[in-house]
C-alpha cells in the first residue's frame, strides 16, 4: 500500500514539476520505465502467489532498470539501438501481459 501511494505521489510530483529529462538520460528512461513496470507487476503477482519478498523486489527492480538501460546503450553502440529497444519493449510487454493475466486469475478467478 505504501509503495502504491509512493507511485501516485511520484506521478503527481512529476506532473506538477514538469521536470526536464537530462539529455544523457533521454534514450534510456523510456525503456527503464517499462522495465520498472515489469518489476512492479511481477511484484504484485508474487504477492498473490504468496512468495513476495521485499528484498527480491528491490533487487529485481534495480536490475531490470539497469539491464534495460544497458541493453539500449549497447544497442546504440552497435548501431542497432532502435531494433534492440523494440525487442526489449516487446519482451517486457509480453512479461507484463503474462503477469497481469496471472494477477487477474488470482483476483477474479478468470
Amino acid at each position: 500500500m505504501i509503495p502504491a501511494l509512493g507511485l501516485v505521489i511520484g506521478i503527481v510530483a512529476g506532473v506538477l514539476m514538469q521536470p526536464e529529462v537530462p539529455v544523457w538520460l533521454q534514450p534510456y528512461l523510456p525503456i527503464a520505465v517499462i522495465a520498472a513496470l515489469d518489476a512492479v507487476f511481477g511484484a504484485v503477482r508474487a504477492v498473490l502467489d504468496g512468495i513476495f519478498n521485499d528484498k527480491v523486489f528491490v533487487i529485481s527492480f534495480l536490475s531490470n532498470v539497469v539491464v534495460a538501460a544497458f541493453i539500449v546503450f549497447l544497442g546504440d553502440q552497435l548501431g542497432v539501438g532502435s531494433q534492440l529497444s523494440t525487442g526489449v519493449v516487446v519482451v517486457l510487454g509480453v512479461r507484463i501481459f503474462s503477469n497481469v493475466a496471472s494477477i487477474r486469475r488470482h483476483l477474479f478467478n478468470a
Partner: protein, 255 residues
C-alpha cells in the same frame, strides 16, 4: 502458469488472494518496504517526466535512420509546398495583372465617357474660358453671325459652348427667327451670352481680331463684350437622341 501455484492457506481462493493483497498492502516499517516505496516514487516521477518529455519532444533523441526518414518527408513536403507556392503565386500575379488591366481599362473608358459626354453635351462642364456678351439693340445680329462666332470659338479651341442656356453640340443648327435666333429650334433673343470653355486668352483674342466677331457685331450696330475668366460653367444640357438612320460600321481593329 501461476494458476498452478497452490495457495498456502486452505481458505477459498479468491478470498485468499484479496486477503493476501490486503495484507501485503499493510504498512510495514521494514527497510526494504521503505526502499520499495522510494523506488515506486522514482518510477512514478520517471513516468510523469517521460510523458512530459514525449509531449514536448523535439528531434534530439531520435536515431539516425528516423531522422533521415523525417528529413525525407520534410523535403518532400517542402518541394510540394514550394510547387504549390509557385502555382498560387503565378495565379495571384495573373489575377493581379487582370485586375490592373481591368482598372486601367475602366479608367480609360471613364475618360472616354467624360470627353464624349462633354462633346455630346450630356454633362455640365467647368473650366477656364470666356463669356461673350452680344447686345443687339438694332436687331442686326443674324444666325450666320452667331455661327461665325461659334466657328471662331471652335477654331480657337473651345471645348464646350453654350448660348443663352442652349448647349452647342455637333448637331446644333442656327436659323433666323423673327425677333431673335433659333438655336436647334429653340428661340433665343438678345442679349446673347456665349459661354465657352477653352484657353481664355486665345478665345478672347480670337473674338477681337480685326474682321472678327467683335467687329462684325459692331458693324451691324451691336456691341460685343468679351470677358476672360478663370472659371466658367457650361451648365446647359442636351439630350442625346438615338440615331434613326445612321448605324456604326464595325471597325476591323479595336482601338
Amino acid at each position: 502458469m501461476s494458476s498452478s501455484t497452490p495457495p498456502p492457506t486452505p481458505s477459498p481462493r479468491s478470498g485468499t488472494a484479496w486477503h493476501r493483497l490486503g495484507r501485503a498492502g499493510r504498512p510495514r516499517p521494514t527497510k526494504a518496504n521503505v526502499l520499495a516505496t522510494l523506488l515506486a516514487l522514482g518510477l512514478g516521477f520517471a513516468i510523469a517526466a517521460q510523458v512530459h518529455q514525449t509531449s514536448i519532444e523535439g528531434l534530439e533523441n531520435l536515431r539516425g535512420d528516423e531522422l533521415i526518414r523525417i528529413l525525407d518527408t520534410v523535403d518532400q513536403d517542402g518541394n510540394r509546398l514550394a510547387d504549390e507556392i509557385q502555382t498560387l503565386r503565378s495565379s495571384r500575379d495573373r489575377l493581379k495583372s487582370d485586375t490592373t488591366s481591368l482598372a486601367e481599362a475602366q479608367k480609360a473608358a471613364q475618360q472616354r465617357l467624360d470627353s464624349l459626354a462633354i462633346l455630346a453635351g450630356t454633362v455640365p462642364a467647368r473650366g477656364p474660358g470666356i463669356v461673350l456678351t452680344i447686345r443687339d439693340p438694332e436687331d442686326g445680329v443674324t444666325a450666320p453671325l452667331l455661327l461665325d462666332a461659334l466657328q471662331e470659338l471652335r477654331d480657337a479651341g473651345a471645348e464646350a459652348v453654350q448660348i443663352n442656356g442652349v448647349r452647342v453640340v455637333a448637331n446644333t443648327y442656327f436659323a433666323d427667327k423673327d425677333g431673335g435666333i433659333a438655336i436647334s429650334g429653340k428661340k433665343v433673343t438678345a442679349p446673347y451670352v456665349v459661354t465657352a470653355i477653352g484657353d481664355g486668352s486665345t478665345l478672347a483674342s480670337a473674338m477681337e481680331i480685326p474682321g472678327g466677331v467683335t467687329n462684325s457685331v459692331r458693324s451691324v450696330g451691336g456691341q460685343a463684350d468679351v470677358q476672360a475668366k478663370d472659371t466658367v460653367t457650361v451648365s446647359a444640357l442636351q439630350t442625346v437622341s438615338e440615331p434613326q438612320y445612321a448605324r456604326p460600321v464595325p471597325s476591323p481593329t479595336t482601338s
